[in-house]
Structure formats: C-alpha cells, structure tokens
Amino acid sequence: MEILVCVKRVPDTAENEIEVAGDGSDIERDDLVYSVNEWDNYAVEEAIQIVDNVGGSVTIVSVGDEDAEEVVRREMAMGANDGILLSDDAFEGSDGKGVATLLKAAAEKGAYDLILTGAQADDGAGQVGGMLAAMLDLPYASIVNKIEVLDEKKLKVGREIEGGNQEMNEIDLPCVLSIQTGINEPRYVGIRGIRKVASAEIPVWGASDLGIAPEAIGDAGARVKRVDYFVPEYGEGAEILEGSLEEMSEKLIELLKAKGGIK
C-alpha cells in the first residue's frame, strides 16, 4: 500500500507556555520549542505499521518553511521511505483550504492508496484532512483510532465518538483518514535513527512545481484570516494559594474538608 502522511511543525505545548506577543499580532515565538504535531506522529506510526504488515511505502509531506524539513526528516527516521517539503514564499498565510490545495497537488503527483493526516493540531482547526478528501473526491473518516486492512480495496476503521465509544466503518480505498492520538504507541526516534536519514534527499516543491497559481493560495487566496491573538478577560478565576508547600497543603486540606473532599 502506498501511503502519504501529511505532517506539520508546531510549537510543542507540552514544552511551552504560549503567550501573546506585545502587539497581539503573533504569539511569543523567540524561545518556543517546536516539534511535529502530536496527532501527525501517531499517523506516521500507523502508516509504518500498515506497510510493515502488507508491504508498500510511506511518504511524508509537509507544508512549511525550511525549518519544517527537520520535522520531515525526524518522521522519516521512524521508518518512512520518502519525504517531500512543500515550500514557497507564496504559500505563506494560507488558510486551511490553501494548505489542503497544496497537499492535493502534491498527492496527485503520486499514486497513493491511503492518505493520513493528524485529526487536529494545537494551532489548527482539524480541517485539512476533510478538505483534502473533498477536493480529491475520496471517501473520508475523521478521528480514526483503529485501522484494519481488509483487502486491497477496503479498510475497516474505528472512529472515536463521544463517551469513549467507537464507531466502526468499512471504507473503500483510496481514502483519506485523520488519525486520533492513542491509536498506537509511536516509536522512539534516537540519534542513530536521525543519522540514518541525515543524508536522505528531501525534494522541495514550490508553486510552479505543483502547478498552482500563487494567487490561489497564501495570504492572497485566503478567505479565512487570523486577525490577532488575545487573552480574554475572564472572571476572577481561582483563588491562588500562597506560601510554602506545607502551608498551602494545610490551607487546602481545610478547604477540602469543608467541601467533603476528604473522607
């Protein structure tokens, strides 16, 4: 099975506190630690496991600047065969539809049976997978937490739905799936793994390589635009306890006892 996995480089929320920059035009990016979007990492692992079982190859693709190449390489180190970077000044400021347009063009340069994306990203809207499927006129399932290859023509997929329940579907190939965290246990990538793919060539495709008019994508083509970042005024919020660990513990125990929290 030929599998394309779409990944994105994002600020790692496990490693960073996200703060609004002074003028609200962006978040503070100076000291941010970036990594691959967590959902995408599960998608790559799933693709590699499928290929391990039924054969084929895994290609990683990302839309981004030169820094995104590092993320493509890291995901290749998990065991993917190829990587592609979609990068061009004209891509900057693309909305979800713009990103999906680029990925569609890249997907059409190959012959993929299965296209995976992460179900969402911390700085996104969970939209690219569904849009890409609609543009390619392929069947789609979102928030997928189980994939079973039935035969060359179809998969059985589980979708995570409310209450921890799982919706089982049969879906024809080729198709697009967005992958939920927890579907597998992504493998660890060590320094040695990274070294193995250090010299792998990652082609960079721009607007002309993809046959896309620059005005259709990027800021020029975006009909959905982020205007600013802000932190809303909330109510008073929590009463923050102060003092030493012992003092805070004693205060908290008093409060908990009053609320029936300690039996």
Binding site: S142, G163, Q166, G237, L255, G260
Partner: protein
C-alpha cells in the same frame, strides 16, 4: 447581505442534542434578525419526534427522511447537504465528532469558508464575519475574519453559547425528503462499539483525584494514587494519560471519555482543555495544581496552586495522612 442561516440538528434516539438550542443563540450573534432554519435528517418515528421538538424553537424545520440516514453517516449527509443548501448558506453545526467529520469537506463542496470550534461572534460587516476561536488548548484566543460572500460552514463549540429555552417559535416542519437523491457512499457504517467498563466507575464517585500530562512519567501515577487513598478518593485522568496507556480508558474524564459529576475535583497537571472540561458536570468544587500559571484550568477552578504537582502532591498527601 448574508445568506440564509441554517442549524444542523444533532439527535439521538428521538431527542435533539443540547446544541440545538445553543445554535439559535449563536445564529443571533451573527445576525440578530436571523430567521434560522433547522435541518433535521434521519428516518422514521424518531425523526418526526425530533422535528416536532425542534419546531418549538425554530420557525422553520426542514425534514429529510431517508432510510440510509438511520445512522448519521457524515459522507452521506455531506452529499445530501451539498445538493440542497443554497450556495450562500451559512450553516452552523456543533463542533463534536460528527461536525468534525462532516463540515470541513462540506465547505469545499459548497465552495464556502470553514471555521472550526467557534466560541464567539463579533459581528458581521458587509461580507466579513468576525469570530473568536481558541488555540493551544485555550491558552490564547484569536479573532478570525471570514469572507462569507459565498456562504460559510461554522462549527460551534458545544456549551459556548447559552441555550435558548423559550420554545416559543411555533414553527412548521417542511418535508424535504423528495429532494434527497443518491446518497450512497464509499464509507459504510457497521456498528458502535461501546466503551469498555473498567474496574472502577468514576461517574459515581464524589471525589476524584485527576491527573494529566503534568504527571510526566508512568512511575509518578502512584503519587496521585497515594493522595487519592489518603483522601478516600478515586484516581481519574485526562486524555494524554490514556493515550500513553498509563491508566485505563474507563478512568478518562472528557468528551471522548466519561462524563463525571463529583462534588470535589482535583486537577493535577491538567491544562483544562474544553474537551476535558466538557466531561465535568454538576458544578464541582475544583482544585487545580499546575506549574503553568496561564493554564486555562485556573479560570474554572475554585482554588489554584501554582506549583509542580510532583513537588506539591507528596507534601499534601503527608499532611492528609497526619490529619487522620
């Protein structure tokens, strides 16, 4: 002039979801004079029951009855809606696992803009709709503008808008079933597999000690277990803990896990995403322990402790034990 506003009504076993009443208020924030049309898709007696219920709140209800709609397959519904909605329609749907499945692709089929997980609207000027979203699990908010000249598909966060419970619309149900053409799809619904039942039922507990990403390592789970034992409570968790397979799925609080209604809820190292808080009902007394003072959990908690839980919780446990 903006297009007609529609609300997609999610329903189950003959009853409309809470979001049905919230979407009325959301539509009113886009256009105070909006006469929003409800879309109710399904089949049989359950569908008629839902339509009657929804007609109390919406002046106009479009009913689509087709046997293939017995289970809401987003692939079939996308095909159907792309065929019947006017090209400049503004469609509101809940941002739940169905809305996430249906809507991004629908916006492509309608050639309209898409906005996900919207928590507020700032108004409409000409064709520009300004709305509010959150990013990074609610750590920051953003204003977003959408050009809705060609319509819009908007997923609205459940619970972000108050429900309109006036039920005074006295609306009419219009049967649009005849407009349903071929909705066969390449994705076929098989069954719903119910969540596994675990060794404890966290939905019945009064006091929960809940752990999130801040616990950092599987070996640290016992720090929470010791506190829970000292307090006479039970350990629950947020999603990343289940993804890491450190605790069972049955202990997960959130929209993709269990809905709990304890009296007291300790959130240890939990940032407080809306998906997590969506599983927390009944207005419990919330204690948040988190080293990030900007964690959204502090906005909803009653008491907060800005410390690394790995430092604070062992001290707390010792003090609870001493007090016994």
């Amino acid at each position: 002039m903006a297009g007609q506003i529609f609300a997609y009504i999610t329903h189950k076993t003959g009853k409309a979801d809470d979001s049905a009443l919230e979407l009325i208020v959301a539509a009113g924030k886009i256009d105070p004079d909006a006469s929003t049309t409800a879309l109710v898709l399904g089949t049989g007696a359950d569908l008629d029951t839902v339509c009657s219920e929804v007609a109390q709140s919406y002046k106009e209800v479009w009913k689509f009855d087709h046997e293939a709609l017995a289970y809401p397959n987003a692939e079939a519904i996308r095909k159907l809606l792309a065929g019947v909605l006017p090209s400049d329609a503004i469609l509101l749907a809940p941002h739940d696992t169905f809305g996430m499945d249906l809507c991004p692709g629908l916006s492509i089929k309608l050639d309209s803009v898409f906005a996900a997980d919207v928590v507020g609207f700032e108004g409409l000027e000409g064709d520009t709709l300004k709305l509010i979203r959150q990013e990074y699990s609610g750590q920051v908010s953003t204003h977003v503008t959408c050009d809705i000249a060609n319509g819009a598909v908007i997923n609205v966060r459940p619970g972000a808008f108050q429900p309109d419970e006036s039920k005074s619309a006295g609306g009419q149900v219009i049967d649009k079933s005849a407009e349903v053409s071929d909705i066969a799809t390449a994705r076929r619904f098989l069954e719903v597999v119910a969540a596994e039942v675990g060794d404890v039922d966290i939905t019945k507990e009064d006091v929960l000690v809940s752990v999130g990403r801040g616990i950092e390592d599987q070996d640290n789970i016992e720090i929470a277990e010791e506190l829970a034992e000292a307090m006479g409570a039970v350990v629950s968790c947020s999603r990343p803990i289940v993804d890491a397979k450190w605790l069972e799925k049955s202990r997960q609080v959130g929209t993709s896990g269990q809905t709990v209604k304890p009296k007291v809820y300790l959130a240890l190292g939990i940032s407080g995403s809306f998906q997590h808080l969506g599983g927390l009902k009944g207005n419990p007394y919330i204690v948040a322990v988190n080293k990030n003072p900007k964690a959204p959990i502090f906005q909803v908690a009653d008491v907060g402790i800005v410390e690394d839980l790995l430092d604070f919780v062992p001290v707390l446990t010792e003090k609870v034990q001493e007090g016994k």
